[in-house]
Amino acid sequence: MMATIRESLIVQQERDLVVCRNRVKEVAVKIGMGIVNQTKLITATSEIARNMLIYGGGGVMRLEVITRGKQEGIQLVFEDKGPGIADIQKAMQDGFTTGRTLGMGLPGAKRLVNEFTIQSTFGKGTTVKLLKWKNG
C-alpha cells in the first residue's frame, strides 16, 4: 500500500504555477496515470491555478490521491478569497473573459477532467474542484 498523498501548495506568484504543475505531474506519474490523462490534468491545473493567481489574488491548491471503488485518481481543490465571480454561467462559456485573453480556461479545464465543480460567492472567493481518474 502506498502512503496516502494529501498536501497543500500555496499559489502567490507566477513561479508557484510551475511548482503546482510539476507536483501534479510527479503524483500522476507515481500513481501510474497515463500520459494523455496526465497532460490533461496538468493543463487544467495550469488554467485554474493561473485564474486563482490573476483574478483571485492567489490562494491554495490542495492535492489528494483518492480512491472510489476500484478507481484511483487525483483530486485538486483550488481555493481563493478573492472577489469571486459574479455570473458563473457566463464565466463557464467558451470565450468569456474579463481579461484580454481567450476565455478558454474554465470551460477548457472542465472538458479535460472527469469531475469539475466551481463555487463562488461574489465578494468572498472562489473554489474549483477537479478530479481526474487514472484511467478515466
Binding site: 507566477e14 513561479r15 504555477l17 510551475v18 504543475r21 510539476n22 505531474k25 500520459i35 494523455v36 496526465q38 497532460t39 490533461k40 496538468i42 493543463t43 495550469s46 488554467e47 493561473r50 467558451d94 485573453t101 481567450l102 478558454m104 480556461g105 470551460p107 477548457g108 479545464a109 472538458r111 479535460l112
Partner: protein
C-alpha cells in the same frame, strides 16, 4: 534575467524551448522573437516545443501572438515537435492555434518553410509576367 536563446539559421529563426516556461519568460520570448524577425527580416520562425509537457491557454496565446505578429512582417511560424498528448489536450481545451503551421520535427518544419518560400517566389514571378 533568464532568456530563451533564439538562433538565426539562414533566412529562418529557430527557438528550442527546453524548460517548462513560466509566464514572464514566455512573454519575454514573444517580445524577443518579434524584434528578431523585424531586425533580421527572417521569413520563418521555427518553435521547437518537443520538451514542453503542456501547452495551456497562456502559452497558446503567446504562440498565436508570435505567429500573428510575424505574419504582419511577412514571416511564417511553424511549431515543431508537439507531443501527441499535448496535441490531444489542446484540441479538447479548445485552443485553435490559428495561423500556426505544425510539423513533426525541425527538419520537416524547415522543409515546410522552404517550400512555402519557394511558392511565394513563384507567385511573385507570375505576378511579374501578368
Amino acid at each position: 534575467m533568464e532568456k530563451i536563446p533564439i538562433l538565426k539559421m539562414g533566412k529562418f529563426l529557430l527557438v528550442t524551448i527546453q524548460v517548462d516556461l513560466y509566464d514572464r519568460l514566455a512573454l519575454t520570448l514573444e517580445e524577443d522573437l518579434i524584434e528578431m524577425v523585424f531586425k533580421t527580416g527572417s521569413k520563418g520562425v521555427l518553435i521547437d516545443i518537443s520538451a514542453l509537457s503542456i501547452v495551456d491557454s497562456f502559452m497558446g496565446k503567446i504562440i498565436g501572438n508570435i505567429a500573428g505578429m510575424s505574419s504582419i512582417m511577412d514571416a511564417e511560424t511553424v511549431v515543431v515537435g508537439m507531443q501527441p498528448a499535448v496535441a490531444i489536450t489542446l484540441i479538447e481545451l479548445g485552443l485553435p492555434l490559428s495561423g500556426v503551421h505544425t510539423a513533426l520535427n525541425i527538419e520537416k518544419g524547415m522543409a515546410l518553410l522552404q517550400s512555402r518560400m519557394k511558392a511565394d517566389l513563384d507567385d511573385d514571378e507570375n505576378d511579374g509576367d501578368d
